[in-house]
Structure formats: C-alpha cells, structure tokens
Symmetry: C4
Subunit: 230 residues, 4 copies
C-alpha cells in the first residue's frame, strides 16, 4: 500500500546522513498523501544503513497505524500535528544537525544575515518558547512539541518560514514535498553555521536590509520567481 509514498519517505530519510545532518539515529522524515490522509514515517531507532522502503510505517491523521510491523518514530505525533496545522506541506524533516541545534539549545533564533538565508526564509529562523512542565510531563510530550511549533506560527506563513528551532531541542523543517523539506534542512544547517561565524566576527551584526531580503526571497518564491527552470 502506498509504495510510492513509502519510497519517497525512505529516500528522504537516507538523504539525511548523506548530507551530514544526522549522527547515529537522531532524525526522521515523513511524507504525506493528502488525498488519503496518511503519512509514511521512519520506524523508531532503526539505523539508517539498515533501513528499507518497506520499513516505513504508515500512520493516519488520527495517529492510528495503518500499516507497518515496526514502531513509528517516537516523534510521530509532532509530524502529525504539523500535517494537521499546515495544510500546504507535504513532508516534514527532523534532525539534530549540529550548528542549528546549537542555536536551539541556546533558545536563540537564527538571525537573517545574508542572501543564502533569504533564499529560503523570509525572516529569522524562529525558535519556540520553552515547554511547560505540564506539556512535557502530561503524557503527550511529542504532540505538545507540535503544539508549541504551531503556536509560534500563529502570525507566520509556514511556507515563508519553512522550519523552526524547538527550544532546547533541535530543528524541524517542512516543504511542499519531503524532498523540499530535506533541502531546507540542509540549508538551515548551513545558514546556522554561517550565522554563528558572522556573529563571531561582529557580535552586534544587524540583520539583512529589507529590500535585499525581499529581492532574494521573491527571486525563488511566488509569482515573480525567476530562479531555476520552468
């Protein structure tokens, strides 16, 4: 069932260590079939080298396992929360990539300092508020992780800001497809690395000028985009 969706999710998962975004088993990717309301996600704690397309677990938007012998990722409720809240996304990626996680641990947004960042995000990369004792310990920790992300996006467009840092934790990214979510995950790590170094050079560095941000983001997104092939 949904062989193509499982393959798509599988390809995204194995791309993560290849891009140097994953140590050990810290990460996962999922892809959704909106018509069926079912998403395919990595099984929990399985080494990337051992993963096969058919190991992907199929879960519906109520959280019920539709197909699969293995436990889905422990982060499955976070993915589900995001698929429910952000109607236009087709895939979600979670990594503990080192530089982005350093910002997340410090509870800091990644300031938008240059055009690389502006090619992917229309603002700083946001960070969630810290979770409360009740949200953490109340028995639905991973679902509540999704909730604090959704709360942070109350006034943000998830396609203008296709990712977030979960406070004390690590980045989540998304996109129209899971392949795009992987691409954003690569960009976020690269952007975090460069931002950290720019801050080392200029601790009080101001963020990018609005006109340059606008130009670069719009060059790649929306009706006036002219980057890439038609």
């Amino acid at each position: 069932m949904l062989t193509e969706l499982k393959r798509e999710a599988y390809e995204a998962n194995i791309a993560l260590p290849r891009h140097g975004l994953i140590n050990l088993t810290f990460g996962n990717a999922s892809a959704i079939d909106r018509a069926k309301g079912v998403f395919a996600i990595k099984p929990s704690g399985v080494a990337y080298a051992d993963l096969r397309p058919k190991d992907m677990v199929l879960v519906d938007l109520d959280g019920k396992i539709v197909e699969g012998k293995l436990n889905p990722s422990s982060d499955t409720p976070t993915h589900r929360r995001l698929f429910l809240a952000f109607a236009d996304i087709g895939g979600v990626v979670h990594t503990h990539s080192s530089h982005a996680t350093a910002f997340a641990q410090a509870g800091r947004e990644i300031p938008i300092f240059g055009t690389t960042h502006a090619d992917y995000f229309y603002d700083n990369i946001p960070v969630t508020r810290k979770m409360t004792v009740k949200e953490i310990g109340g028995g639905a920790y991973e679902w509540e992780t999704g909730n604090v992300i959704v709360e942070r996006f109350k006034k943000l467009d998830p396609l203008d800001s296709p990712g977030v840092l979960v406070n004390r934790h690590a980045p989540f990214t998304w996109g129209k497809t899971v392949a795009k979510a992987v691409e954003v995950a690569v960009a976020v790590e690269c952007i975090a690395h460069m931002a950290l170094m720019s801050l080392t050079l200029e601790p009080k560095l101001k963020t990018i000028e609005p006109e340059l941000l606008n130009k670069h983001f719009k060059r790649k997104h929306g009706p006036g985009a002219y980057y890439g092939q038609k």
Copy 2:
C-alpha cells in the same frame, strides 16, 4: 579462544576511525566476557587499518594476559579498573575525539544544554579531578587513571552517566555492550561540539530544565522507555 568476544572488540575498534573519533592511533575499545572474567582489547600502537580480529589481546581481571602475541593497549589497566568497579558494563571505549578532548584539556564538565545530551546522559558529562604527582609517577599511572574515574563516580550511576572526561586527557565511555560504548563515544563528541557552540552564543547559558531532562532520558532508558523497537 573467545573468538566472538575478540570479533566484537575488533568491530568496536575499527568503528572509531570510521566515526571520525580517532586520529592516528589515539584510542581503544574493549569488550568483556563476565562469566569468564576476561576482556578483549586492542593491541598497543597498531594502526587501525592493519588490525585483525585475532590481534585482540585477552586479559583477565587480575591484569594477566590470557592470550595474544602483541602487547595490549597501554591503557589496559584503566579498562580493567572500570570493569572491576562498574559491574553492569560490558565494554569500554577511549578516544581523543577533538571537541570532547577540548573540554577535558580545560578541566571542564560538558554542561547539559539540550535533548541530544539528555538522550544519553542524566546530567553534565563529568570531569575527573587532576591526578597527583604520586598517582602519575608512582608506576601505576593507567590504573590510577581508572581510580580517579571511579572516585568521581562515588555518587553517580555509571549507566546514568555512561562516560567521563579525564582531566587534561580525553573521554572514556562505556555501556552494557562495547557497541553501546561506541555509540556513546559518538554522542559525546557531538554533544561537546554543540555545547561549545551554544556557549559561544550564550556564555552564561543555563543547563536544561529538570523536567525536560527527565523526559528525554526516561524516554530511552529504564522501565518506561518507549524509544526504538521492542
């Protein structure tokens, strides 16, 4: 004799350079057979590329070489001390991985800043006190290195804190199996790298909130764990 144990130790040793934890010959791994009271350890100063399973040296808990033509690692007495003190561990790994060693050289614990750390350790990664002139020069330096680790763990559970930084030296990690000790060594290096960057961003960053620490550690360890497969 103990062919399987030697293979297990061998696999752990050659995994270390593959994970980027080892430069040159700086490191070693050992695996113990508790029933026989014998452990298999890397021979001293042999290049990883030249290593074969049968080169592993078998040593008993009195420090006597049971089998093997090569000298065992010069750190063998440290491994032996840890196997004697920590009854539940099945393997020990020593590396000079760069970021963890930077903390060790500075005599600093690695502060617990995020969930990646909390997935592996239930507290800061501890550092030993400095060794005395007598401990260093008294003829049993490597055994005394084990002793200062054991002293540091007087009030710590070695499975809640499956590793340590030896002051001025480098990390040792352990686990129920030597494969797990390798996994912890990878995690320690990654955690050290991210902690160093978080400190660059926020020199006065506070450590993780207790409820989040508890949640992440218990998600992976103990009776309520639900990460991974059954």
Copy 3:
C-alpha cells in the same frame, strides 16, 4: 557549438561541490571564449549531480542566449558584467562557501594575515559596499551586483585581487581560466577559515608585513615568478 568551452565550464562547475564549496545549488562557474565574445555558464537551479556538459548555456556579451534549452544561471548578468569590465579574465566562479560567506554577511574584508593568502592576493580580500534600494529593486539586480564589484575595483588590478566578497551575499572569484577561478575559490574559503581562527586567537592581529607579502605574491605571479614548472 563551442564544445570545448562548454566542457571547460562543466568541469569547473562540478569541481565546486567536490571541493566542498557548494551546498545544494548555491554556485556557478562560467568560461569565456574572448574571440567569439561568448561565454558558457551553468543552467539555473540544476543539481550538480544531474549536470552534463551539453547543459551549459552559451550567452554573448550583450546578454543574448546563443545556444541552450535551459535558463542560464540567474547570476548570469553578474558574470557578464565582470567579463566586460575585466578584459584579462577567462572564467568566473561564484560560491556560497561557508567561511568566506560569513565574512561577506558581516560586510568585512578578509585581512591578509599570512603567506597562504599572499600566494593568491596582493592585499586584503575586498568587500563591496552595500547595494542601494534602487540597485536592488530596479529590475537589474544581478547586473548591478556586477556594477558594485567593478566600482570596488576602480583602483585595484583584478589579477592582483582575483576575487571579492559581495556585501551580505558571498564570494566571486576569477582568473585567466575558469580552472584558475576555481582554484582561487578554494583558496578564498581556506584563507577565510584561517583568518577567522587567527582573529579568535588575536582579535587585534595586524596584517602581514609588506616585504613578506611582496615576496610570496611575486614568487607565484609576474616576470620573477619561480614557483611551479615552466
């Protein structure tokens, strides 16, 4: 048409990710045939792994596409501007290599601290002024990017300073051939990394002494050069 030129441009483009200078599709290289007034450049937004020599787009110095089914790089007008202004260069390379981009984002020149830098540049690696709202939004952004580079070089020899950081953006490099421009791009990234670390060690570090700069630059460039083979 111009098969050899397209191959040269292709080889330069695929060398960029191999040297670790490129994440995703952030970069491009072009090579010019001065006799024909035509240059070959990477198509826009195509993954490096999928690129073939025949995908290179041929563009003339008026900006007209001479051959090619794909859209040329969105940065094509910047390359064209540089080929028009700097008569002696045969190739242009643009990357978002991490360390050099960190300086560009901060609007900082890369100070010349050692002989590695002096082997390639006769001075600090320059940075352009910020672009105006009109230059960014007036409909010819990439051409104007070339213009601020040319403005910065009013008193500089482009072969003595074979590269530049575009403010808030990233490096461009060039050379007598596109292969040389790639070599300079590698050097710029390496120089930026080392300069950042030297600044960490000595925030007020002075630049290299003139006689040593002179010696190293002239050892490799100009009539008295004696580095390499005849």
Copy 4:
C-alpha cells in the same frame, strides 16, 4: 637511482591530502638517504593526484639537483637547511594545515594543554621570530626560512620538539623517517584544533602540569618507553 627513497617520499606526499592537511598544492614532504647525502622531494606546484614516485626530485646537501626533470619544490632550501642542522632526522614535512596555520599567522606558540600534545611534543609547539626585510628579500628566502627555524632550536632538541610554526607562514614537522614526520604533521593539526577550542572555553588556561607532561612524553619516547610493540 634511489628508487626506494623516492617511493618513500612519494608515499609521504600523497598521504598529506588524504589526512586533510593540504588544500591545492600547499605542502611537500622529503626523505633523506644520509649515507648518500641525497634527499627526494616533491616537484614544485604539481597536483597531488598527478604525482608519481618517479617525479620526485633528488637533491644533494649542497642543493644540487642529482636527478629529476622537474623543478623541485620552491621550499627545497628550507628542507635542506633542516637536514643539515638536525642530524638525526630522516624526513621533513611542510603543510598549510588550517588550525596550525591559524596559530602561525597569529605568531603564537601552540600551548601544551593535554596528553595528546604531550604524546608528541615535550613543550609548547614553538614559533619562529619574524624574518627581517633582508632575510626575506635578499635572494635566499627559503634558506633563511630554514635559518630562523634552526635559530629557534638553539636550546631545543629537534626530537623532543619535532616541529615548528614559521611565523606568518605555516608548520614544518620532521622525524626519524618521513612517515614519522607525516604522523607528527597530523598530530600538530589535531593539537592546534583542540588548543584553539580549549582557549575558547578558558582564555587563561594554564599549560599541562610537568609530571603529566613527563609521563606521557616518556611513555612514548626514550629508554623507558612502553607504548606500542617492541
């Protein structure tokens, strides 16, 4: 002639990029036959990928080319100076490895902070004084580079301190064999990286205690050494 010596020098040269110590063509290695007074060295500016054992150039201790069609490395007089001054060394390696070069550019010794350093050097890694205008411009720059190294070692044993940072330039290392000089070059880069990070953590960090330095250095060097195999 001297086929084995050329192979030894060749193997050392191609090991340098494999260990990540070399960008482009920044580096060279040489091996000497003391009985014949001849050393084999890399040709100047040849890419490592294109190098063959027979390309090594044979040079005698007067600086005369004994065999070889290519120009020897432009750093040949520095190697020659070191072979003349340090009677016990069999090989010399020069790299621009990034972290070590960052210290050299800043004119800073690498402070001895831990046992990794003490396994290779009996003190801080020394840095030369800056060269004078006359030494740089007098026509024998590379020979004078050797001279400032030799001057720095007036009171140092070159086997207790098997390497140096040339001020504003980069590291040179040596050893009883050129393979050992390569090993030291790897260690120097790793030590520099860790020292830089330890300094980030503790800007006023003191160097290692004498007894621990002594223990680690002597564990590997001299009559009481017990590391490795007999």
